[in-house]
Point group: C2
Chain length 310, copies 2
Amino acid sequence: MTATPLGPGNEFDRIRAIATALGQAGSGLGDDCAFLPDGWCASTDVSNEGVHFRREWLSSREIGWRAAMAALSDLAAVAATPAGVLVALSTPSSEPIESLVELMAGVGAAAMACQSTVVGGDLSTGGALSLAVTVLGRAERPVRRVGARPGDGLWVTGMLGGARAALRSWQGGREPPPAARARFARPMARIREASWLASRGATAMIDLSDGLAGDAHHLARASGVGLAVDLEAIPVDPAVAGAEPWRDAAAGGEDYELLVTLPPTFAAGEQLVVETGTRLTRIGTVTTPPQVDFAWRGTPLTFAGYDHFR
Amino acid sequence: MTATPLGPGNEFDRIRAIATALGQAGSGLGDDCAFLPDGWCASTDVSNEGVHFRREWLSSREIGWRAAMAALSDLAAVAATPAGVLVALSTPSSEPIESLVELMAGVGAAAMACQSTVVGGDLSTGGALSLAVTVLGRAERPVRRVGARPGDGLWVTGMLGGARAALRSWQGGREPPPAARARFARPMARIREASWLASRGATAMIDLSDGLAGDAHHLARASGVGLAVDLEAIPVDPAVAGAEPWRDAAAGGEDYELLVTLPPTFAAGEQLVVETGTRLTRIGTVTTPPQVDFAWRGTPLTFAGYDHFR
């Protein structure tokens, strides 16, 4: 089996052990999507109550939207166009029919926002609420985690840390500021932006689901390169508070922005705002030694991403 | 939205409400698979601990195998050839890495048994063990639930009731007989059989996941026809005990056999045994009035399939 190498972490140790055990029964694991014949690609992403969200934080419709967008973001990560969404929805047997309808209306709205539809699903009872969302797409010009070259620029879409700011508020018993709450409850998969980046020669890409600190390692490991990240260049969401807001912006996941490498000659970041309304900011450079170096104005710093099995 | 009509039941009332709410955001819901361009099709199927299986009944490898085969059976139901398996696996955070490896080895073995591989997945923590398996396939000559015509013969592959016999033993606190246990723990999706049936002109097909009593209604409703089922003709698994074993064979689900309608002229059921080792038995006829009639030697009887939201 030829799996794309992953970065460090207990969760990824488990995925590595599984890939090894699968042997010939697994193929092409380790990227954001599975690549199939005819330009088709697919990805699956699960959202579990108590792990990815709590019911008291979000409405049923927001839970559905967010679960679908987290999966659709994997299509954005490879510059694919969505072609269909499937949902395996598990709820307690007492779940009111109105709640099921709202959950799926949220999934449907997210699919529509990405020019797609819900094409299938499965409904079952289970202990807690769980949505396993599978997305199918077409990628004429896929961009993978593999492909970054030393000298390429390292760029990021949008602003980081908003989702984590909301999470911090809820965990502290406070309702988050509306802007931060919206970043967590209503993320938007960067489908159009990804297509634009692919057309500008993007060499490697990944979506920031576990946070820049962790996902940068996956991209570097997959491409067999290093990354030098300038923390002071990170576009920090205004909703992020604290003395060193860039820390949350770098370590916080679930913003579903794109981390992308572009040829050294690329400098037209402002064109993405003009065409899609989304910022594109250079935050570093692809290097040769296989390591990820974070620095704040030249001073090295260490970070870790989110790990399900910490 | 043009959804394929479903049979009666609380679970299906919920699916109908969801399909209505999705409106334009849903498309083609209600068959065993979603049908996509270029002959691609996809289906998702979830297996939850405490609902679909218990850990004390099955090994981790069997849990993985069974979850994958339940999903692969949806490809068989439309006569598709598997092209890839994705798994969203949720486990308690305390799940040993060896158990994760065994679960996925079971999924991988099931995929390989159907000439496919695991192409992607997601690993997350959650309350109970849950496997949401998505299967992708190609169907050059798909057979759907829609298409049965009055006068067609109604046929079923294999033998029915074995999985339910195992379930009854476990629920009664006994270890099932080995043959019944194997039917529950190691089902086999009827991929080859489905392809054979499609080539013989199958007009409509469904896999028996909820049981003949329930699934027959889905096929009839989708095709806008009736079905007359001769209960005495049902091939009952020898593992089924009791005074009226055909009751369990008709009402029990999860055998993952195929219910198929074939042209009136088709009579070569024994050829399937010769070519695949799987029996093919005629159990009734497609009729005009839109209802499903079960009869034992001419005497009408009533049944219901499994319903998650009874």
